[in-house]
């Protein structure tokens, strides 16, 4: 395929092109990782390359990986920031185990990432970043570019700074400003290498730097210079092409898990006809949901940056008491702080959604790294008997559906609901087939208004939910509270039998949500087989890919991925018993495993990883293989 028309038009002029196009080699798939110093703009380059790839029609999945330090010392290993993109002409389930192309802007970025690059992988380095000082900061005793340690890779050494400087020289920018354009030079270069359409990038540069025309011009020139450099110099023998994937027709948007979560909540609020209220305290990796929602005021969306995690959830409970869709967002440490208030919401039976965007713990742990170790806290991390529905998103786009579903269930059953995502989903992105609002389920909110026969705890016969009677409604004045209360009237009660009845009623109400859960889908041998791999949350893509690969090798391996973790689907026990072995894969020490063993008395085994990094497909494959042999 030739260079896309708009690319040729924009970039062919004045480029000094030799006029002869280089050959283009077609490949099914690439995984590219951009790595550099935190200040090198690698996240931006990665995101823009993602946008180009989506527009090229590839199926994609991304994995940003950045340090917790906002500005770690330049050139150090701690300051390395990475962004990985898997783009393919085939269906994509994961951001890829390892990159086939690595872009390293300095020695530290090389050192942190080079072990992931397989032999013969493409390595693009900014040669000028390999100064003695930077080599020393990265802990190199000799220069890897000259000591033959990189001989097993296809190494392309580019003088990025020099080339960027000459591209923008006429603009008279200072060195610092010029250096900030280096990422666009590199982006231009890889855009050529993979024959990406470039309009999304040039549009981005124009809108992002609208207010600083010289910076806009510099970035534009750097980008085009990078693109033309690839085309005209001898360094690359050919470019690559990844053909569009077979993707269902429709309108797509590249979306991160956090944005999808925010939009799911807005959509649910719109569908319920109620305002959305988010009470939240900034915490990595959840803050983006607060940022996103604070921009949607006209829906209306209320966002309250509370004084602490407790006030975040407490304010959401207050808003729910008043009839709003009350939600709170946090990560593990914040969940602990919210626990008491969540117990109150359980007791007073008000709708509330608590989103835990899990990160590696305990304590501060690794805030920017994902983990799934909050499941048992979501299940049991409260005082007293306080069951809560738990729903977990499997992919970035699935965060939209799960957030929506969490609100729907919270309102229907008058209960807090916990939505579990994680740092991997939060910042990872994938194409999302944007739904039409009318396709989304209705969320029925019927406030009680009739004083005749009103009692605060008179339950719906089917759902066992109590009426939502909001202040401002004449004749329904009533009091609710954390003290044990009497069936129907809600008056304070210390009656032992009443207390047990209320505890059991609330538990039955939550267990009854199982009727909302669709039949569990078994990928593979529906009638049973050698091994069933069970997962939940962000491991979905990896587990599915591993099962696909193993089935291609003739292994009887199947996959069930749970969205509902409490209650568990009512057909799960039957399904589990159809398999000779059940393996539960999760990024913790075996939390769902414990639940499954306890609930179904099945001798399931675990596949676990607690490294703040997602499973690799190869890791899961080898664990499953061992289990099959064992």
């Amino acid at each position: 395929m030739a260079v896309p028309p708009e690319t040729a038009q924009q970039l062919g002029q004045g480029s000094g092109s030799a006029g002869q196009r280089k050959p283009v080699e077609t490949r099914p798939q690439f995984v590219i990782r951009f790595a550099g110093d935190s200040g090198d703009g690698m996240q931006l380059a990665g995101m823009q390359f993602t946008a180009e790839s989506a527009l090229a029609g590839n199926d994609i999945a991304t994995l940003p990986d950045f340090p917790a330090e906002i500005r770690a010392p330049a050139g150090t290993l701690a300051g390395v920031s990475g962004y990985q993109l898997n783009f393919s002409s085939q269906p994509v389930f994961t951001p890829g185990d390892e990159p086939s192309v690595l872009v390293a802007m300095n020695p530290a970025a090389l050192k942190v990432n080079i072990d992931d690059l397989p032999p013969n992988g493409v390595l693009i380095v900014d040669k000028e970043g390999f100064t003695d000082a930077n080599l020393k900061k990265a802990g190199y005793t000799s220069n890897p570019l000259t000591d033959h340690s990189l001989d097993k890779y296809q190494v392309f050494e580019i003088e990025v700074s020099k080339l960027t400087t000459s591209a923008v020289r006429e603009l008279g920018l200072n060195t610092r400003a010029v250096n900030r354009c280096r990422n666009f030079f590199v982006l231009g270069l890889v855009s050529w290498l993979f024959q990406r359409p470039t309009k999304s990038v040039t549009d981005y540069i124009e809108s992002r730097f609208k207010k600083t025309p010289d910076v806009m011009e510099a970035n534009m020139r750097a980008f085009k210079a990078g693109y033309n450099y690839g085309e005209t110099t001898e360094i690359f023998a050919s470019a690559y092409e990844v053909k569009p994937a077979q993707i269902a027709p429709g309108f797509y948007r590249n979306i991160t898990g956090n944005t999808a979560t925010a939009l799911g909540f807005v959509a649910a609020a719109v569908k319920s006809g109620r305002p959305l209220f988010l009470g939240s305290y900034p915490i990595t990796p959840a803050s983006d949901v607060l940022h996103d929602l604070s921009g949607f005021k006209n829906f209306p969306v209320y966002t309250f940056q509370a004084e602490d995690e407790i006030a975040g959830v407490a304010s959401a409970i207050g808003a729910a008491f008043g009839g709003a869709i009350g939600i709170t967002t946090t990560s593990g440490p914040g969940m602990n702080l919210k626990a008491e208030a969540i117990g109150l919401a359980v007791k007073v039976e008000l709708p509330l959604v608590i989103t835990d965007i899990q990160r590696a713990g305990p304590s501060t742990g690794m805030p920017t790294k994902p983990e799934q170790a909050d499941l048992l806290m979501a299940m049991y991390g409260r005082h007293g008997e306080s069951p809560i529905p738990i729903i977990a998103a499997a992919t970035p786009a699935d965060c939209f559906d799960c957030a929506f579903e969490a609100v729907r269930v919270a309102v229907k059953y008058m209960t807090p609901v916990i939505l579990l995502t994680d740092g991997h989903l939060a910042n990872g992105s994938e194409p999302w087939l944007v739904p039409e609002p009318e396709q989304l389920p209705e969320i029925k909110v019927a406030f009680r208004t009739d004083p005749n026969g009103f009692m605060p705890y008179l339950r719906d016969e089917e759902t066992l939910s109590r009426p939502w009677a909001v202040p401002g409604t004449p004749g329904l004045e009533h009091r609710i509270g954390g003290l044990s209360s009497e069936h129907l009237t809600g008056n304070v009660s210390y009656s032992p039998s009443n207390n047990e009845m209320m505890v059991r009623l609330r538990a039955r109400k939550i267990a009854g949500i199982a009727r909302e859960i669709p039949a569990t889908k078994v990928f593979g041998d529906e009638q049973g087989g050698d091994l069933l791999l069970v997962g939940w949350g962000s491991t979905y893509g990896t587990l599915r890919e591993a099962v696909i690969r193993m089935r291609a090798k003739g292994k009887s391996v199947s996959h069930v991925h749970l969205r509902w973790l409490n209650p568990l689907p009512s057909d799960l026990g039957d399904i589990l018993r159809r398999f000779k072995k059940v393996m539960v894969a999760e990024m913790n020490m075996g939390q769902l495993l414990k639940m499954i063993r306890a609930d179904y008395l099945i001798d399931a085994v675990g596949c676990n990883k607690i490294q703040g990094r997602p499973f690799k497909v190869s890791e899961v494959e080898s664990r499953v293989t061992r289990a099959l042999e064992g």
Binding site: A54, R253, V270, A311, I317, G318, F321, L344, L476
Partner: protein, 332 residues
């Protein structure tokens, strides 16, 4: 037209279960008494409390009520008031609930100036947990948890509120029926965070803690009633006053050439003056009344103004276009 409400309309059907003789009864009675005069429909009135003796309050009000968790009432009330600004939201708290476990929420509600009426019942003791010292207990206080006397320096609720720049700060006393009613009415009329410390006697665990200002026989010599624009005069015979001696206030005897004109005149809008009065300790008299009242935008109105502005400038939220923002493309 609906018939006018009376005090009885605000009494719930629940039996009041404070200890006999508790100061909370008097406060409940005064609140129920002023309610009909406020002109707010019963259904638009909400009482929110935390945990502690005082926090049982909402159960006894025939309005909407929410007995929440320890210290968090201001945060819960904030979420309600932001989204339902038309409601009249009262917070009932105590010295432990509001100044210890919930201190953070209290100061932030006050600094934001959210339109809540916050009543802090200060009895300088933990009553519900049966008698431990509280963050307002005096140094040396012997309690169940401080057998050798407390070494914990106390908070002064009024200076805490002043430090948080609450826009309305007052103090009253459980047994001062008229003064309490007037103070509550003023607090209600104020737009913004109204903070009222109510000195309240716990006759079980800290009986007589405020005797000097509540005992009819001696209170006149210890109470300094603050009235805006009026000289600071007190005493059984109204013959004592507060005068500035350089930078320091002092008590002076009126007469012998000392007149009203020599005395400090109360000004509710003067923040430094309010700080000075709030720090009066014996032998200075204890001020009651409004220390400070100022007008500044309320948090709930500012938040809702932003929402209205967004709606006006961007139009009402439209879901379809919201979902279709960002990096998008069509697959045919």
């Amino acid at each position: 037209m609906a018939t006018a409400l009376t005090r009885k309309d605000f009494i719930s059907d629940q039996e009041v279960r404070w200890c006999p003789g508790c100061g909370d009864y008097a406060i409940l009675a005064q609140v129920q008494k002023i309610m009909p005069e406020l002109g707010v429909p019963r259904e638009n009135t909400v009482f929110i409390s935390g945990i502690g003796c005082s926090s049982r309050f909402p159960y006894y009000m025939n309005t909407y009520g929410f007995h929440t968790i320890h210290g968090r009432a201001p945060a819960i009330a904030t979420g309600l008031k932001m989204t339902r600004p038309e409601l009249d939201v009262w917070v009932v708290t105590g010295d432990g609930d509001g100044l210890s476990i919930g201190g953070n929420h209290l100061i932030h509600a006050l600094r934001r100036n959210i339109d809540l009426k916050i009543l802090l019942f200060n009895n300088k003791i933990y009553g519900l947990t049966k008698g431990q010292y509280s963050p307002t207990s005096e140094v040396g206080k012997v309690t169940k948890s401080t057998p050798a006397g407390s070494v914990d320096f106390p908070f002064n609720p009024i200076t805490v509120a002043l430090g948080a720049h609450s826009s309305f700060i007052a103090r009253s006393i459980d047994v001062e029926q008229k003064h309490l009613q007037d103070t509550l009415k003023r607090a209600h009329a104020h737009r913004g965070a109204s903070f009222v410390e109510i000195l309240q006697n716990c006759n079980i665990f800290n009986d007589g803690a405020f005797n000097d200002v509540s005992d009819k026989a001696i209170k006149a010599d210890h109470q300094l009633i603050l009235e805006h624009g009026k000289p600071l005069i007190f005493g059984k015979n109204r013959d004592k006053g507060i005068r500035m001696n350089g930078m320091r206030p002092e008590v002076v005897q009126l007469g012998n050439g000392v007149t009203d004109k020599d005395l400090l005149v109360h000004d509710e809008t003067n923040l430094p003056l309010a700080f000075m009065l709030a720090n009066f300790e014996p032998p200075m008299p204890t001020p009651i009344g409004v220390f400070y009242a100022t007008s500044r935008p309320t948090y709930d109105s500012a938040v809702n103004a932003q929402l209205e502005h967004a709606k006006k400038t961007q139009g009402p939220g439209e879901l379809r276009s919201l979902l279709r923002r960002g990096d998008t493309w069509s697959v045919k």
